[in-house]
């Protein structure tokens, strides 16, 4: 039997006269008819970004990675910064759908669909960087251990770079399956509302012919739960392995055991910030304020302040351990981060990631849309700087003073980064117009327990 959660709980679906039918209409409406002018405008800008990306990447492949600002000393810079940044952003989706599912957090249902989509698009962006930074992308398939005719010649199974190949590709595949299995019933909802035969046909293919019988739902729930159980350690493993790329190399500033938890917390932090940015725009443009409520925004802000503080503790622990190690090179690496040539990057990172999110200890700020939006942008910037600081400041002053160098990006570096945002937003905007942005079936499943309409009905019936 359905039961109403405590009446003093903040409802997660607003609207006193909401019905199941209304939920369908509110969400599916955004995929019907012609997109509004704002959408075309945003899509146009995103396409320009994508074009820039294609041009800059083509130029890189044509000329070689010498067109970037890399040199002998700083031989990894924006490419890997962008990679880690995008992978980090790609962590929130699965975290929201998997970890919050296991913890039975109902507020997950309003945002999980879009967050998972964001995850997939962010991982698509991330995956480009290891490929293009190889220089000879046409030999990219060498990274896979496949039986070959070059004598027995295999990849190095002791290398974190190979672990990364497996981690990222597994993460991408599993995220796609998780996302798609949840989408099938919602595509069926769109299909059964469709008025034109063509639309019905397309959405039926997408829905895999979903019927919605009790037995299908029973397997559906079982699959979601097990995929959530598998994705939870997976999501933690992916950024752990990304951090191994650095932590297992013997470079002061990288060679630290704190990296895995520190990177995972940072990934969740940046991922939630990106979800926040996108959701604040989507709820407004697509009129979804009843489903992505202030309560959802506040919950995300709580995760942001928690993970931001974990990241802050990690920064301070690093400094302490560098001092405590008594190891000169380690000490210098951290002194150089804070007060060396890249001090501006370090302090931007500290301000955006550690100081500013502390505002969220105050309820007023957590529930303010304006503050949430500004903060989400701050965190996105801060987390990009975090990766830049870790990568470039650990490299630019190496063991030989004569080879110390300063890294400056070229236009190609910058165009690839800005262009990857274009790629991301192109994909996201297409998603926002053709897919159900909110998990319709899951929102309906919590409707009778924690919606304003259900609470209102309960109050009327019991009238106390």
């Amino acid at each position: 039997m359905s039961h109403v959660d405590s009446l003093i709980r903040e409802p997660l679906i607003l609207g006193k006269d909401k019905t199941y039918g209304q939920i369908t209409t509110d969400i599916v409406r955004n995929t019907e008819g012609n997109p509004p002018r704002e959408w075309w405008f945003a899509f146009g800008i995103a396409l320009i970004g994508l074009l820039l990306y294609v041009v800059a990447v083509s130029w890189t492949i044509f000329k070689g990675i010498g067109v970037w600002g890399l040199q002998k000393t700083v031989n990894w810079a924006w490419d890997i910064t962008n990679f880690v940044w995008w992978v980090g952003i790609g962590h929130a989706g699965t975290l929201i759908s998997a970890v919050l599912l296991l913890f039975r957090q109902k507020w997950r249902t309003g945002i999980n669909r879009a967050a998972e989509a964001m995850t997939i698009f962010a991982v698509i962006c991330a995956g480009q960087f290891p490929l293009i930074h190889m220089g000879r992308i046409w030999q990219g398939f060498f990274i896979f251990p496949y039986a070959n005719t070059r004598g027995p010649l295999w990849v190095n199974f002791n290398s974190p770079l190979l672990w990364d190949v497996f981690a990222i590709s597994t993460y991408f595949t599993v995220s796609c399956l998780f996302w798609y299995s949840g989408l099938m019933p919602d595509f069926a909802t769109i299909r059964d509302r469709a008025t034109s035969a063509k639309r019905k046909y397309i959405y039926n293919i997408l829905s895999f012919g979903w019927r919605g019988t009790a037995k299908q739902w029973s397997r559906f729930e079982s699959l979601s739960l097990i995929l959530a159980g598998l994705s939870t350690p997976l999501v933690l493993s992916v950024h752990t392995i990304v951090s191994f790329d650095f932590a297992t190399s013997v470079i002061p500033g990288w060679h630290t055991t704190i990296f895995p938890p520190y990177f995972v917390a940072g990934a969740i932090f940046s991922g939630f910030a990106m979800v926040q940015t996108l959701m604040l725009i989507a709820r407004k443009v697509q009129k979804l304020e009843d489903y992505i409520t202030i309560a959802h925004i506040e919950s995300m802000n709580k995760v942001i302040v928690l993970t931001g503080s974990i990241v802050g503790i990690a920064y301070i622990t690093e400094l302490f351990i560098a001092w405590y190690s008594g190891y000169l090179y380690e000490q210098y690496a951290f002194y150089n981060r804070a007060f060396g040539d890249y001090y501006w990057a370090y302090w931007s990172m500290m301000t955006c990631n550690v100081l500013s999110p502390q505002l969220f200890w105050f309820k007023k700020f957590r529930r303010s849309i304006f503050v949430s939006f500004v903060m989400s942008i701050f965190v996105n910037i801060g987390m990009w700087f975090e990766r830049f600081v870790i990568i470039v400041t650990s490299l630019h002053k190496d063991f030989l003073v004569s080879s110390w160098n300063y890294f400056s990006p070229t236009w190609v570096d910058m165009a690839i980064f800005v262009g990857s945002l274009g790629l991301f937003f192109t994909l996201f905007l297409i998603f926002a117009r053709t897919f159900p942005v909110i998990a319709i079936a899951e929102v309906k499943a919590i409707f009778s327990s924690i919606s304003e309409a259900a609470q209102e009905k309960h109050r009327k019936e019991h009238n106390h």
Partner: protein, 180 residues
């Protein structure tokens, strides 16, 4: 095109608007000794499996077996490569160093369990791109719940009894549907 597996050609079904009525109706109808062939709902209704007597799915067992396959595939292949086919010294470490193999073994376990389970899932749920869904009523993916009874092997009086039970249990509409 693929047609969904359907046991009967003709169905009688009742439509409900609220999940509470829908769940009550299942109890009432089954108490009369009439079996329900299909229950349609727009979302997973909590507790419906017990009421309908649906056995718990074995999907997780499939996931476990497939996951183990992944574990052993990864460990086996890596072991063969690093000790037999291509033993190479990296920084003086042993050829077979288990800790270094754990990340890939873990990833392959998850990958095989997830991918395999997804395919078992779409197979068991008879889902396939382009499949035509055999549903008694299209509104059940929006805001209605339906209980359906196959009537090909039922007599007139049995059908009348089902229809009667449906209306008595609070169904808002009692309709028939025939699949070609």
């Amino acid at each position: 095109m693929n047609k969904g597996k359907i046991e009967h050609k003709n169905y009688v079904y009742g439509i409900y608007s609220h999940e509470d009525n829908f769940l009550h109706a299942i109890d009432e109808i089954r108490a009369e000794g009439v079996e329900i062939d299909d229950a349609y709902s727009p979302f997973p209704v909590h507790g419906i499996d017990d009421k309908l007597g649906i056995k718990e799915t074995q999907l997780h067992s499939a996931g476990f077996v497939l996951g183990l396959t992944g574990t052993f595939t990864a460990l086996g292949v890596i072991t063969w490569i690093t000790t037999v086919n291509y033993p190479t010294m990296f920084g003086g470490k042993p050829f077979w160093s288990l800790p270094a193999f754990i990340p890939i073994t873990f990833e392959l376990t998850v990958l095989m369990a997830a991918v395999g389970m997804f395919f078992v899932y779409i197979k068991r749920n008879e889902l396939f791109p382009g499949k035509i869904p055999m549903m008694v009523d299209e509104r059940t993916t929006d805001d209605k719940f339906a209980l359906a009874f196959g009537i090909d092997d039922k007599s007139e009086s049995e059908i009348a009894n089902i229809k009667n039970l449906l209306s008595k249990s609070g169904a808002e509409e009692v309709n028939t549907k025939s699949f070609e």
